[in-house]
Symmetry: C2
Subunit: 374 residues, 2 copies
């Protein structure tokens, strides 16, 4: 409306649950309009965190007012620890107290934490309300807001409770990323690089030459977000409930989640994307040790992660880490376990990852012990 | 195996989520075998309540042992108040502590309370585990175990939090109903009668002549359970997520739920099926008042409910009831509300119920005020 508003549209094809992802600058200003077009007559409840509230809530609320979208707002603390049962329960209760109905919408304005939590809430209140994602971190725009995985953490591990609940609409306003801390921007970038490492060597190569434009907010940023969303949408459309190849999206994540668990989700020490960065490097190194991945590919991955300022080694995590047994436990509890066999994403080199169900505990333990420097 | 074991099979047709309901006497004894056939290699966790544990858990565990099905057992208190957030959270946590995986199964052994709660738990742990229903009340066998609706209550109303999560198998052992209290048996019978009242006048007529065989455990019991399951399966197959005609299954339930809410789910005062019995009578009386339902049909409904010993009037609920405003609030919060319009199941007579979206608050309030005797 007020500013230039061209958006790229990526469709997630899921039959009668298909939905569009809109990607572009200043989309927040037309969110009200987009929501009332897509969900006419729905009331809404915006869920956001303290940090995003201060920076971007006003723009969203003004756009809702302009479009005549009824809304209430619920605010949660910022940070990974917000993805817990107690807050989940409170949000469910608050939404019921607002007397919203099944046709009304929960609007997540925030990063992956707000999105995962709000998605889970919207999936269970009245057995499923409408859901809209307005991701405000790079990580959420390229990954967590797309695909319908929602959830919270448990003391037994990350994302162990949740549902598959697809949004009706995703609005990725790439200009809101301008306020993101460099650290959180880098963390999200790890997931962008992931799409190259999974099955798209040309994209990884493009990133090696163009990452600076992504960080500085050039046109490369919108291109990278759109490319990533397309990559994720294709995987999700082919395997919505993660019975097969969707697991590829977890490249680096079994290691990464165990690291996040090891620091008890203390985001001062490690955020998700940093865990993924280290985890992807470990996946390449472990694959190399198994004779699967060429050494030069591992080197390229490390070099690129270092170039953008992401950690690549466990010893870069500040503070004491728990003993190897804790790691093995966390890995065994990770949701990518199937009938006692570890399901690991291994790789034959950049862009040639695959799901391996034959990894056994001993070589993994030996590999990790060495990496932990014990 | 040991005793005569003929089972009737009713299939719930839901594409790749289709599943069989087995109905017959002494099925508990072959539950292990049925589960290991249907879910080979799955470990299980049995969830049951204190009462059912004492009566029937041993038979189930022995059958699991005989069939080599690995199991753990979690026990919750008996009664409607068990369907609450705190217990839901504990069960999720306990199952994660058992390190069960997505391919493992939660087995609900109990009435609708255990089934609804366990179904919700199995729907969210690791974003959805396998689920098996072994309903042990008449209500659960003919209604709650079939169709995939799961959930818990909230202080804002009944079943307001939950998911749709279909079981992989339902085993309805009609001989376990022999230990059910007459009161709980009658309560379940209200849901059996419901299928006649919705759209099956011949079945209602059959019930008027055959109800004694159902209560005494004659062959009529298995016939009635199978007929009810078929009726429910047909509705569910046509409208899994309750976007249309599935709402017919809620005949009597908006009134019934408001009565349950009014006594704060104190099952000493009112159990679900009793609320449904009074609710169905109210639905006929209200429809009669609106000139829709012939007076003689209302009379027949009342006469039959009285014959089997079910309550038909609000004043049969012991103790003080809240004021009319509380009822109107509870009705408005009931999940069958859509965009502010009350969705009510009304009837043009026995077996001709329909979904009415035009009921407004005033006549309803006047009708209820009269019934509350104020
Ligand atoms: N559902 C999925 O498929 C999926 C996929 C990947 C990751 N995840 C989850 O996503 C979470 C991580 O997401 P995240 O990195 O976005 O974390 P986050 O939501 O905690 O955001 C990171 C920080 O950035 C702040 N922030 C958000 N938007 C901002 C903005 N525009 N400007 C300034 N600050 C802003 C937040 O307040 C927070 O402090 C993890 O819990 C992870 O498990 C889920
Ligand atoms: N999910 C659905 O589609 C659906 C449909 C209808 C009702 N419901 C729910 O079902 C619940 C009511 O179910 P219910 O009436 O089975 O209640 P319930 O589970 O509380 O069982 C009633 C009582 O019978 C006892 N019991 C169970 N089996 C027994 C047996 N074989 N012998 C002796 N005692 C036994 C229980 O311990 C309990 O005390 C309500 O919460 C209602 O909302 C759900
Ligand atoms: Zn991730
Ligand atoms: Zn019922």
């Amino acid at each position: 409306m007020t500013k230039e508003n061209k958006a790229t549209v990526v469709n997630v094809e899921l039959g009668d649950r298909s939905y569009p992802i809109l990607i572009g600058r200043n989309l927040l200003e037309r969110a009200g309009e987009e929501i009332s077009n897509r969900l006419p007559g729905s009331k809404t409840v915006i869920i956001t965190d303290e940090t995003v509230k201060k920076l971007h809530l006003k723009t969203l609320e003004e756009s809702f007012q302009a479009a005549g979208v009824e809304y209430s707002t619920l605010v949660v603390p910022a940070g990974e620890k917000t993805k817990r049962f107690e807050i989940f329960e409170h949000l469910c209760d608050d939404i019921l107290a607002l007397r919203l109905e099944r046709g009304d919408a929960v609007v997540a304005l925030g990063g992956g934490v707000v999105g995962d939590l709000s998605g889970f809430v919207s999936g269970v209140v009245r057995r499923g309300m409408k859901f809209v994602q307005i991701p405000t971190t790079l990580l959420a725009q390229v990954d967590s807001s797309v695909g319908g995985k929602t959830g919270i953490n448990s003391r037994h591990g990350k994302n162990l409770l949740g549902v598959f609940h697809q949004p009706a609409l995703v609005l990725a306003d790439t200009s809101v990323l301008d306020t993101l801390s460099p650290r959180d921007f880098r963390a999200g970038y790890a997931e962008v690089a992931k799409y190259g490492l999974i099955n798209d060597p040309e994209f990884f190569e493009w990133l090696e030459s163009n990452w600076e434009g992504i960080f500085s907010g050039g046109p490369e940023r919108d291109q990278a977000v759109a490319h990533s969303c397309r990559a994720k949408a294709a995987v999700v459309a082919a395997d919505e409930l993660e019975s097969g190849n969707r697991a590829l999206l977890n490249l680096g994540h079994t290691f990464g989640h165990s690291l996040e668990g090891a620091v008890a989700y203390e985001t001062e020490r490690l955020v998700h994307g940093e865990g993924v960065s280290i985890g992807m490097v470990l996946a390449h190194e472990f694959s190399e040790q198994l004779g699967l991945c060429p050494a030069e590919d591992t080197k390229r991955v490390i070099a690129h992660m270092e170039a953008v300022g992401l950690p690549t080694r466990i010893d870069q995590i500040p503070g004491q880490l728990p003993p190897i047994d804790t790691f093995m436990d966390l890995i065994a509890q990770d949701k990518k376990v199937s009938r006692g066999q570890l399901t690991f994403i291994l790789t034959k080199g950049i862009g040639t990852s695959y799901v391996d169900k034959t990894v056994s505990a001993e070589p993994l333990r030996a590999f990790l012990e060495e990496k932990l420097g014990k």
